[in-house]
Subunit: 297 residues, 2 copies
């Protein structure tokens, strides 16, 4: 294991997944050039949280990061496509994302739809690509997990419920279910893809990683709701105060702001506790939990 | 081989892929219920041309149809998602599809976007699902082929160029390139997935099937352009005369109506000729070429 903190390697991992993204998107000028330019635009920026979870969990399980480039890249492609589609006028209608114009603002609506469609296909192409680090059965398992987590019973389903729920008030249980789909499923998948990349299987370890994934996913979303109230658009890189303006059910609106913050803090604590089975080796994921907890955007 | 014509089995194969589609879409009532209802709505109807190509080519290679249900189903899911997205107001803006209201008319625009996203993910989930008929390496190869054929260097790229080309006149070479992407890539993929499902490899046979796929794909599109002029909306199940109204470059507009018809007939002939290597065993794909050539929608 590494004796220096994961924090010292975060920037290198970010660059690593960004290089992988840049490699997998067809080179500039490839037919059709404008679509590929828009796909590249739509994958730039961002915190790369899902990729960092992959590399951090990979360190915990002592996996070769080369084996993790494909799943890290595929997760970021799916995440990027979901943002492009969620920002569309008929969805959340957002002009600002990652501090820049959203894809449909920078290009046009039809292009944004096609960019999302193309990025989704690319995510599965990346996982299906032959490589020396993963055997066929592992890649298939990853594709299956990613397709389910991002599909209608996961992320896409969560977004559908989110849109429906703008017209009515949710219970806390309904809100939690929505978020476990919309955001939680892909964050949990980030951890599952790492366990699938592992050549050995230890149920205790895998359960710990999945539990951490579920808790971080929910904590992240509560924090998002809090930041929508407390953060500035400049910090967030997207429009702040949208939930309140849209009268959306959020953790703060249902629980109150301070109880929502305490609930998030409690979930981050539970996520760190879930890693106890790894002892000191858990440092990368503990560092990441701390880092996410302290985020301003 | 079957001594009766493929035509006598077409309806059974249609029902076969429709049963497979029905099984793979989450059961009615599955959370989120409205999204899954809309996904089922969007996969109903249609000629099932891509699935029929799969089963017909499977007969030519003497493959077990059970091994072909997953690729047939995945191709129809991708095709259905592409229609839902192409019909959106910011794309081709169509109200009618397969004789019924388009998905965004029947539900709403946001739901139609999510339906398409969910159907795409489901296509890859279906191919990744474990089964007794295909080994992991075959499934991975199919996923890779389908992701490329449907992505930004295939179908999605073709649609992007199609939208860009509404503002200007294309050359015949540009139009052919556009259609080889937009329609041709997925039709060709239908044949490639069958060769990948085959346990043996005969380069001559596989090349013949791929050549047939390329020729049928292009002939199909020229015919589409002709039907847009000569067909009625009632026959087509979608709005007729749209290309002319939009001043789009089509084969008839670039070549003239009669030369376009002759070109399509010539391509169908070449497609049948490409199957010579199979002798009498080619009947299912010859029948399908005849059937497509005679279609009114």
């Amino acid at each position: 294991m590494n004796i220096t903190s994961f924090g010292s390697r975060v920037e290198a991992y970010r660059q690593r997944v960004e290089a992988a993204l840049d490699r997998c998107i067809p080179a500039p000028g490839t037919y059709p050039a404008r679509l590929h330019e828009a796909m590249r635009y739509s994958t730039q920026g961002g915190k790369r949280l899902r990729a960092l979870l992959v590399y951090a969990a990979g360190e915990v399980l002592a996996l070769d990061p080369e084996a993790l480039d494909a799943p890290a890249c595929a997760l970021e492609l799916i995440h990027a496509y979901s943002l492009v589609h969620d920002d569309l006028p008929s969805m959340d209608d957002d002009d600002l994302r990652r501090g820049r114009p959203t894809t449909h603002k920078q290009y046009d609506e039809a292009t944004a739809i096609l960019v999302g469609d193309g990025l989704q296909a690319l995510a599965f192409a990346v996982l299906a690509r032959e490589g020396q680090h993963l055997v066929a059965a592992q890649r298939l398992q990853m594709i299956s997990t990613l397709a389910r987590a991002s599909g209608s019973c996961g992320m896409v389903g969560g977004q559908a419920v989110d849109l429906e729920s703008e017209q009515r008030s949710l219970t806390l249980a309904e809100l939690e279910c929505l978020h476990m789909h919309k955001t939680g499923a892909l964050i949990l998948a980030s951890l599952m893809l790492v366990t699938q990349a592992s050549a050995f299987a230890d149920a205790g370890w895998f359960n710990a990683l999945e539990r951490y994934g579920r808790l971080i996913g929910l904590a992240y979303q509560i924090q998002d709701d809090v930041l929508d109230i407390e953060g500035s658009s400049a910090d967030l890189g997207k429009t702040a105060g949208k939930d309140v303006a849209a009268h959306k059910s959020t953790y703060p609106s249902l629980m109150g702001l301070d109880p929502a913050k305490r609930r998030a803090a409690q979930l981050f604590d539970e996520a760190r506790t879930a890693l106890a089975v790894f002892g000191d080796r858990a440092e990368p994921l503990v560092w990441l939990a701390d880092h996410i907890q302290g985020r301003k955007h």
